[in-house]
Amino acid sequence: MNKYPKTVFVPLILLLAILILSFLVPFLRGGIASQYDLHFERALQPPSLAYPFGTDSLGRDLFSITFMAAKSSFMVGFGVVFLAALIGVPIGMIAGLKGGFIDTVLIRITDGFLAFPPLILPFTITALLGPSLTNITIAIAVAWFPWYVRIVRARTLEIRSSGYVESAKVMGAGWTHILKKHIFPNAFPAVLIQASADIGYAILMAAGLSFLGLGAQPPQLEWGLLITQSRISFLYSWWTILPPGIGLFITVVICNYLGDSLREYYDPRI
């Protein structure tokens, strides 16, 4: 089962490459890469040999800035998914396993969270706690965990009624054994598939919130923030808005591809 096919490795490697470049590029570009290094005299210069993506309104090298911003976006993406799964998977498994009253209570609470439009919750939390990347990570995770509860609960219910779990019960297995050996390994692929596509969407949502000013704050570097910072200038300086936008686009596409490859890989067996 550890022999994942090429279609799974390729997107993973691509994502890793972007992350590595995120650290490497500013290092290679030396002085001109610093996000604190503002040079208004070279602001809004179109792409050239020295500055392949041009410069933004603060005179920063867009090439380095865009790659450096990938770090934050990735952190939020992985953070959101990790947190949502961390909360959602145990709840889903317990609800599916225990059934009855506990199941009903857990599901209703989960449904309560689902009732919030996915953007309202982050608005509320940042209104209460202040805007920051950490806060929107928590906020989006809280808005999203119900989906993981549902996926895991559905799988748990399916697996519970399977022949091999019945056989394990005949052999005298307790719930710990069944959970560890049968339910978790068979429910996990579904979570993994959802999570891999969700990383892209989390990054996108975080960018959207940062665009609105609720996430990353200047002088932090994040794709959504970069887009909003180029709002004023992009009509005449088209190069300022493209790099972060394309960065988002490529990342989401790679994550979707990863999710699809994983689904194909697991499909005959789920």
Partner: protein, 246 residues
């Protein structure tokens, strides 16, 4: 009379949409050690529920189950009908065969790999099959592995719920011969659930005819087949191709 298991007035109902459906209505059965017994009935007769009660997967609403020696040192295992659902798809075949040890001794499967390999060769599985996943095996091979798993702890009683009905005819014969051989070798007691009367006639000593949760007739198979008392039994025998000796 070496009585392994005795069921007395077993009753069970299920609630379906606030209606109580009686699945079992006063079942009385006695199972002797070393014999084979068949539970025969059409769908809805309650035979699967009865098997699940014996296996402890569900409990009767009323009635008494008594085991030999109060079930101390008594092992019961099961072989179910559907081979494709019988083993964890994400575990290798030998790991599944070793699972009874893992559960009873609370150790990792690798401790019991050798025992699993021994049992596998007993049931006619080649070693390379053990290191594959269930989906790579044929139905017959999976059922052999399931039998290996059911017997690895040397149980006293094995419940077999239509163990061959999902298999091809030629494979069915292989599995049946294997089951007979193992019963002789390890002095096992079998309870078969089947609707295939030809198979049942070939395989067991005693038979219990179930219909709508009631036990219509039970006794030695020769007696029931040659002298059915109940009309339903006669109908069943005729449908199953059993020709009555006058």
């Amino acid at each position: 009379m070496n009585q392994l298991l005795n069921l007395k007035e077993i009753c069970k109902s299920y609630l379906v949409k606030s209606k109580s459906i009686k699945i079992l209505q006063g079942i009385n059965i006695s199972v002797e050690r070393g014999r084979s017994l068949a539970l025969v009935g059409e769908s809805g007769s309650g035979k699967t529920t009865l098997a699940r009660i014996i296996l402890g997967l569900t409990h009767p609403d009323s009635g008494i189950i008594s085991w030999e020696n109060d079930k101390k040192n008594l092992g019961v295992s099961a072989v179910f009908q559907n081979p494709w659902d019988a083993m964890n798809p994400r575990k290798l075949v030998w790991e599944s065969i070793a699972e009874p040890f893992v559960i009873s001794q609370n150790k990792e499967a690798s401790y019991f790999k050798e025992k699993a390999e021994e049992m596998a060769s007993e049931v006619g599985l080649s070693k390379d099959v053990l290191h594959r996943y269930p989906f790579e095996l044929s139905g017959g091979q999976i059922q052999r592995a399931v039998i290996a798993r059911a017997l690895i702890l040397m149980p006293d009683l094995v419940i077999l719920d239509e163990p061959t009905s999902a298999l091809d005819i030629s494979v069915q014969a292989q599995i049946i011969n294997l089951l007979i051989h193992l019963q002789e070798k390890y002095n096992l007691t079998y309870i078969f659930i089947s609707h295939d009367l030809q198979l049942v006639h070939y395989l067991v000593d005693t038979i219990v005819i179930l219909r709508n949760g009631k036990c219509l007739e039970q006794g030695f198979i020769e007696n029931i087949f040659s002298n059915p008392k109940n009309d339903y039994t006669k109908k069943l025998l005729e449908a199953g191709g059993i020709v009555n000796a006058p």
